[in-house]
Symmetry: C2
Subunit: 515 residues, 2 copies
């Protein structure tokens, strides 16, 4: 009988010599992924169930997880393996090649940036989050300011170590949206500004003012949760493989196949926030549930990019979840749950109300037209902060000025202004543009979906959202991080990202709503 | 100006040479503690909020945390440091000395026992648990038997590797209750048997049969939670530093200063289970909240032993929480919450009902008198299993015989008999005695508390439980694992563990209840 060794030696030496480093590489990657997954788990806990005074022990554990990840990333063992594999990257299959490139990128960050700085960032980000919570609650920017200053300063220093082209902000952009630059973004945003501001002005002057007061009556907390769960289940979110909890800022976390967790926030006097949170986070959740489980324990078990992820959430939140077919099915259910609040409200009234276009201070409550300008404001501010053109202490002033310039309004408080978003508190800069891009990708995907799925909107209007989910599973979700955003959008829609789909969608929809 | 280095070199070389290894040792210990804490966090999640299908990714993360801990424990670095520090353990301050001894014990286990055996145990324990669930559900001991046999055989082999004195069971006892031996336990249990069996027989023949039906009416879920929280708050459990969630088996987890989490389980037709869970887990929680925070990030941030921990939970659950002073305050509150269910029930009726003594098959439902005999049965059986005097296949027969001998009853099925507890299914042998010892310590502590706290029971009857908490904080909790159980009980009560306090407490209380 041939021994295993004899069998192996009958392979070409060529393949053989790559097999061993690849196996050793994957072992390191698995450990990295386990640590990353554990961090995500603790981060979920931080945002959902952590007791008020429990932040210190959690921050300490997070710090250790970060240290352990960086230790692996920084190890000579991984460095040598990466060197060996990168040299012969063309001999790898596509999955292994992407894995090597993703890990190489992470490796580069921790080897270029001093250990102390990364650890400082991890801790500052946890502390920043809890300072933000308190500062927002008491509408006191001064409590938030030192934490934000610290985070910006750490990031600027990190970028210096990593090196950059044109703008330091490009380094952060690339972390979220590989390859994206300020040059491209400036172009996209100026196109959006050019097209959207006239639409907003036309709507402002149209004289149409849909009635929305019924959306802001008293809506029972647990009924809002119940309806959210019905919507999620209808979308195809499987509660045997996931959860819906409550947190100040709704989010979605994937802990692996069989465990995808969404959160929502319930206002007692607002039904719209919980409905849009459900469809938005549900869109993220379906993506996470749809990634091929064979990618689990590797960095491919993720979305293609933040913007592609956001395209799934915005597709469900706005194009589907604020569309007439969707409410044709769900409005009777909502009305049954809240007969008093929605008495005498027709589906047309409801549809007009939830699609009211009006500049307002809060991004996550913004309509889909003004939304893009909310993102633009954040983009301009964080770019200036990172480029050192703006000081943190001037943030409230600059924020309010830009709100005035682009949307014609001034927030009533910093809590509802510059402190409304969680992102910066955790040191998350460079992410916001993904929101705007997400809307563009969403419109482009949906345009193709309508062509390829038989009677898509008829099915939605009957409450059958499964064909859409299956199509997205097949076209987008299952690929995980295997393809780049560019590859995906080209494969699915036949062309690169094109803002026209979004602009046309908006023009068409709002021409009917505001004739 | 003197540099720091010059200052240091003015110390004796002697101290200096110990400082460095101690600092390096503490760094390793901190990493171990972080990993242990993270595992506890995930384990809490597993028991509270994990989606039905989320077990695989969680088990994978837990496995990696275990591997990482064992890697540190098994490392040459730690071994060398321990060797150096143990050689000169007398020069260490008490805290460092205890820390070295605790880590040395954990190190010894993973180095003496072959890695394969430890891994085999970890797997057998997971498989044992799920086999137990199925076997219990279908009342089929034969499904459970091979798993239990495997666990017993692995443990016996582990003990051979670790070495033992007198009985192999002493090794397991020592894991939970440092220093405790079968010789001491045999003595304590024979004393308990001698005293308790006559009391139980007297009660049986007394003719008194308290009415308990009102405890098992329909009790609203969220009202049960609300009352549990009121009780916990009154006990001094601070919800800014902790939580109460729901899980199948109530438990308490400490994640560090500022984050202590309790769970409960709510039966729709039973008010007693949630009340006793609250006081029991609350007792554990106060202990965990009361440990000196300076011990955090070291193995001293823990209780003195399982039995001492259990003394705190049983003190609040039985002596306080099933006492008349406690209900003098809480009964009106309970009655207001459940006016229908408790209509026409007097505080005397209620007190008699919750203290009904009656041999029953299930340990966790047992009254405080028969409870000790439930533990005795388990102790005798697990000792015989580990000593090789009893075969797993004979377990059901032996179990039922002992139930008959000590409690005069025969369980209606193995599910409600030998398979009722989870412990053995996970390979947890040697823990059960802690339950009985906990009751003895509790009575002895309480006896001293009554002498040292002015009008203790009068204060409790007015709803002021804080003096008791402060006393326990000061006398027991703050020490963490610094002192041994023996040191604590002697320091606090002036004498070693003495079962008389428990026996007298039972005699006195039940002489009044069953005159």
């Amino acid at each position: 009988m041939k021994t295993r060794q004899t069998l192996n030696s009958s392979d070409t030496n060529h393949t053989n010599s790559l097999k061993r480093p690849l196996a050793r590489f994957k072992k390191q990657v698995e450990r990295l992924e386990a640590l990353k997954g554990i961090s995500e788990h603790l981060s979920w806990d931080m945002q959902t169930y952590l007791p008020e005074k429990g932040i210190d022990p959690l921050a300490w554990k997070m710090k250790h997880l970060e240290i352990m990840q960086n230790k692996i990333l920084r190890s000579n063992r991984l460095q040598d393996l990466l060197k060996e594999l990168k040299k012969r990257v063309d001999e790898l299959n596509p999955e292994d090649r992407v894995m090597v490139n993703l890990v190489a990128k992470a490796h580069e960050r921790v080897t270029k940036v001093p250990k102390e700085l990364l650890e400082e960032f991890a801790e500052a980000s946890v502390r920043g989050y809890s300072a933000w919570e308190l500062a927002k609650e008491s509408n006191d920017f001064s409590k938030y300011k030192p934490h934000l200053e610290k985070l910006v300063s750490i990031l600027r220093s990190e970028i210096e170590h990593r090196g950059y082209k044109d703008s330091p902000y490009n380094v952060l952009l690339d972390d979220y949206e590989p390859g994206l630059t300020t040059k491209q973004l400036d172009h996209i945003f100026s196109r959006l500004k050019e097209e959207l501001i006239p639409i907003i002005n036309r709507i402002k002057n149209s004289g149409h003012k849909p009635e929305t007061a019924f959306l802001f009556k008293k809506y029972d907390h647990s009924e809002q949760i119940r309806i959210s769960k019905i919507i999620l289940e209808t979308m195809g979110f499987d509660f045997h493989e996931g959860r819906l909890d409550e947190s100040m800022h709704p989010f979605c976390s994937s802990f692996g196949p069989g465990d995808v967790r969404l959160t929502t926030f319930i206002y007692p006097n607002d039904i719209i926030h919980s409905l849009t949170s459900a469809t938005h986070e549900g869109g993220h959740g379906l993506y996470d549930m749809g990634v091929d489980p064979k990618f689990y324990k590797t960095p491919l078990f993720d979305g293609a990019s933040c913007a592609i992820h956001e395209s799934q959430s915005r597709l469900y939140e706005t194009i589907v979840g604020q569309g007439l077919p969707f409410w044709n099915h769900f409005f009777p259910i909502l009305k049954e749950a809240f007969p008093e609040q929605l008495k005498d409200v027709s589906i047309e009234d409801f549809y007009r109300a939830i699609n009211k276009v009006e500049p307002s201070p809060i991004r996550i409550e913004a309509d889909e037209v003004t939304y893009q300008l909310h993102v633009l404001i954040r983009y301009e501010i964080e770019k200036d902060l990172i480029e050192g053109k703006l000081a943190v202490e001037d943030l409230p002033k600059v924020w309010n000025q830009k709100m005035q310039d682009y949307l014609g309004i001034t927030p009533e408080s910093d809590s509802k202004g510059v402190m409304q978003d969680v992102h910066w508190s955790e040191g998350s800069f460079g992410y916001f543009p993904s929101y705007a891009l997400g809307n563009l990708y969403a419109a482009q995907f949906y345009n193709t979906a309508k062509k390829e799925i038989l009677n898509l909107e008829l099915e939605i209007s009957k409450g059958n959202l499964i064909p859409l989910k299956n199509w997205l599973n097949e076209k987008v979700h299952k690929y995980g991080s295997l393809e780049t955003p560019e590859e995906i959008i080209k494969r699915v829609t036949g062309e690169p990202l094109n803002p026209d789909y979004f602009i046309n969608y908006v023009k068409e929809k709002y021409a009917k709503l505001y004739p």
